[in-house]
Amino acid sequence: MRPSAVRLLNVLVPIKRTIDYAVKIRVNPQQTGVDTNVKHSMNPFDEIAVEEAVRLREKLKDQVKSIKVVTIGPPKAADTLRTALAMGADSGIHVEVPESAPAPEPLGVAKALRAVIEREKEKGGVDLVIMGKQAIDDDAGQTGQMLAGIMGWAQATFASKLVVDTGKNEATVTREIDGGLEEVRCKLPAVVTTDLRLNEPRYASLPNIMKAKKKPIEKVSPSDLGVNLTPIFETIKVTEPPKRTGGQKVESVDELVARLKQAGIAAVKS
């Protein structure tokens, strides 16, 4: 019997340029958002997604035909694409929006990604989308699920382990859930969203950074894709959470019990 042809994987990794996670966030004076004149970098969960795609290629070698990264953002987002290319992605797609445009929302992003995937059909299509489970600026955690929904694809979210079997055309994903770990198996094409424990992203090595400068980045606009990224939500106000009041030291266990009673915490009757 002839062995069935091993399917070649085309991997798409959507990434987002966000405020660097180590920056101290400050609300702007108009209370419409946060101060964005700070250091930005790739959303940490997206870094993990890029890393996973590169590791997939290291494991499956030629079976991974292409790793494309895509971002929807202002001109500066191209730097984030370059970082992904330096980590090992092959090419990038920059859906460019103006600097002053409001941030796209998860549904808008999902629709844009759908359009990108449609466009990729003529180049071999997309078999696997690996993306961060959430962006650290909005913490929405919706885009992956919405994308799978509108594409009619399988989804495996909060992945802490990903194994792809190209022969069977399926992915086995271990998911981090409240009760522990859950293993799901899905047919490709599928959307996998990454959780923190999936991997630790590599440093961008200098030779790769230099190679990345020559890798292609295709620029498109939302209208090229036929999507409208105008937000459907209006942000009314952004404020800081209430300041944490200090704790207090007590001198004895009796005082602790008295204070707890004061605060309205009663003992549970066994």
Binding site: D20, Y21, A22, V23, K24, K39, S41, M42, P44, E47, T83, A86, E200, R202, Y203, A204, S205, L206, P207, I209, M210
Partner: protein, 462 residues
């Protein structure tokens, strides 16, 4: 570190300068020795009592920031001596300023101690030493007098600059109770890279290139030899490069840039790295460039964690020396050879000999990691290392100070006349010899020079 042990019957924790003054006055009258303590992170036993019945005076309860004016443009911070360095850094952060000193012990060390020891650290390359960044000190003199020279004036050429005597005096001329220090603006953009070098010979040319091409944005240039790198990675101190990348490297260099314009600075740094990589005889094998804040701190952790890795590996003999850059490798190798000759190189005695440090300042931290502290190993190393340094006309203590460890070795780096005048100054300030006895200055030759201290009886060297 666990190397120096001492006991005292009494520890005092004054809360105000006045209390410090009263304590010192009393001790001076009663001839009781005093050991001032800050964060107790010193590496030369300078904060450990020596069995002369000293009292320990901890500055830890004096930990308030007295004054900081971000608006006036002078950017000086005035703080109690017992403020922990990290807490001052945290205090300044929202105002977009930083402390001009920074090093591994920042979570525990205190600013008063930093000044008393003229601490160096990784930022010295960029901001200079405490002798330049400290604008004023408040010191309690050995007779209890409070010398208040706290000022926020940037320029003040009125008379002899007394504070310079106390900076680096390691508690032997008085107790620092307040510090006024310049706080540079926080850099808008910091970036770092870890470079793998094929051979030690590349280090000096690399340093010259980095200085020339990065010029004002170069803020740190640290050397890590292969042994130190492997030790740090092995003890999980930070993330290293992939093993293939680190492969044949003989040593590593950490470069940090800090500047005002992110794009401009990142471009300068990646241009330099690109040039280095694409030359005919590259000075570097490869390197990694941090892409975000996490990677930035991971790369720094690798360097800052060497100290901890060393203590996890065994008992360390630490030699903090200033020698010509070109001699760094020679000194490490010579020390290894010496130990090998004495049959002390091996898991039973000395497990590792590693070198790392602020190569940009000509400062090497030579660490000999042993299974245990033994007199045999000490005899093999001292005065061998000091003599080696003396040969290069170097410093036996670039930044760690003399404490009790190197007081006897002062003559390897300073001539007799210098030492004599240091002693005269000590006698002038502290005729009863109560301030941190046994530290910094060697005992005078001939009859016992030390004024007799009242031994409270319970002091004992462990």
């Amino acid at each position: 570190m666990g190397k120096y042990h001492g006991t005292s019957s009494t520890v005092l924790r004054p809360r105000t300068t006045k209390e410090v003054s009263e304590i010192v006055k009393y001790c001076n009258e009663k001839r009781i020795g005093i050991v001032p303590q800050g964060g107790n992170t010193g590496l030369v036993g300078g904060s450990v009592p020596t069995g002369r019945g000293e009292l320990v005076v901890s500055l830890g309860s004096m930990n308030k920031v007295r004054h900081f004016d971000p608006v006036s443009g002078m950017c000086t911070l005035v703080a109690d001596a017992g403020c922990v360095l990290q807490s001052l850094t945290d205090y300044l952060a929202p105002h977009n300023h930083i402390m001009p000193v920074e090093f591994g012990a920042k979570g525990s060390c205190m600013i008063g101690g930093n000044c008393a020891t003229n601490a160096g650290g990784v930022r010295l390359l960029r901001y200079g030493s405490l002798h330049g960044t400290v604008l004023g000190l408040e010191v309690v003199l050995p007779d209890g007098t409070i010398l208040d020279q706290l000022t926020t004036l940037r320029k003040d050429n009125t008379g002899y600059d007394l504070k310079q005597l106390f900076i680096g005096s390691e508690g032997t001329l008085g107790i620092i109770t307040g510090v006024s220090i310049l706080t540079p603006p926080a850099p808008q953009a910091s970036s770092n890279a870890l470079l793998a070098l094929p051979s030690f010979d590349s280090v000096l040319p690399l340093f010259k290139r980095a200085k020339r091409e990065l010029s004002e944005i170069l803020s740190a240039f640290e050397f890590i030899d292969r042994g130190a790198y492997d030790l740090s990675v092995r003890h999980g101190q930070g993330r290293g490069m992939s093993p293939e990348e680190a492969g044949g490297a003989e040593c590593f260099v950490l470069i940090e840039t800090s500047g005002g314009r992110r794009e401009h600075d990142e471009e300068k740094l990646s241009d330099l790295l690109e040039h280095l990589l694409s030359e005919d005889k590259p000075l570097i094998n490869t390197g990694v460039l941090s892409q975000d804040a996490t990677q930035f701190s991971n790369i720094w952790s690798l360097r800052e964690g060497i100290t901890e890795a060393v203590s996890k590996e065994g008992k360390a003999y630490k030699y903090d020396i200033s020698i010509p850059l070109s001699a760094f490798k020679e000194v490490v190798d010579a020390t290894k050879d010496r130990l090998r000759e004495k049959g002390l190189l091996g898991p039973h005695a000395v497990k590792e000999v590693v070198g790392y440090g602020h190569i940009g300042d000509g400062n090497l931290h030579l660490n000999v990691v042993a299974a245990a502290y033994t007199s045999e190993i000490e005899a093999a190393l001292e005065p061998f290392v000091y003599e080696l340094v003396g040969k290069y006309k170097g410093s036996i203590s670039a930044e760690h100070g003399l404490g009790v460890m190197k007081a006897h070795a002062l003559h390897y780096s300073k001539n007799g006349i210098s030492i004599e005048w240091m002693r005269r100054i000590k006698d002038l300030f502290d005729p009863n010899g109560i301030m941190n006895p046994g530290k910094v200055l060697p005992p005078a030759s001939g009859a016992s020079h030390e004024p007799s201290l009242k031994n409270t009886g319970s002091g004992r060297v462990a």
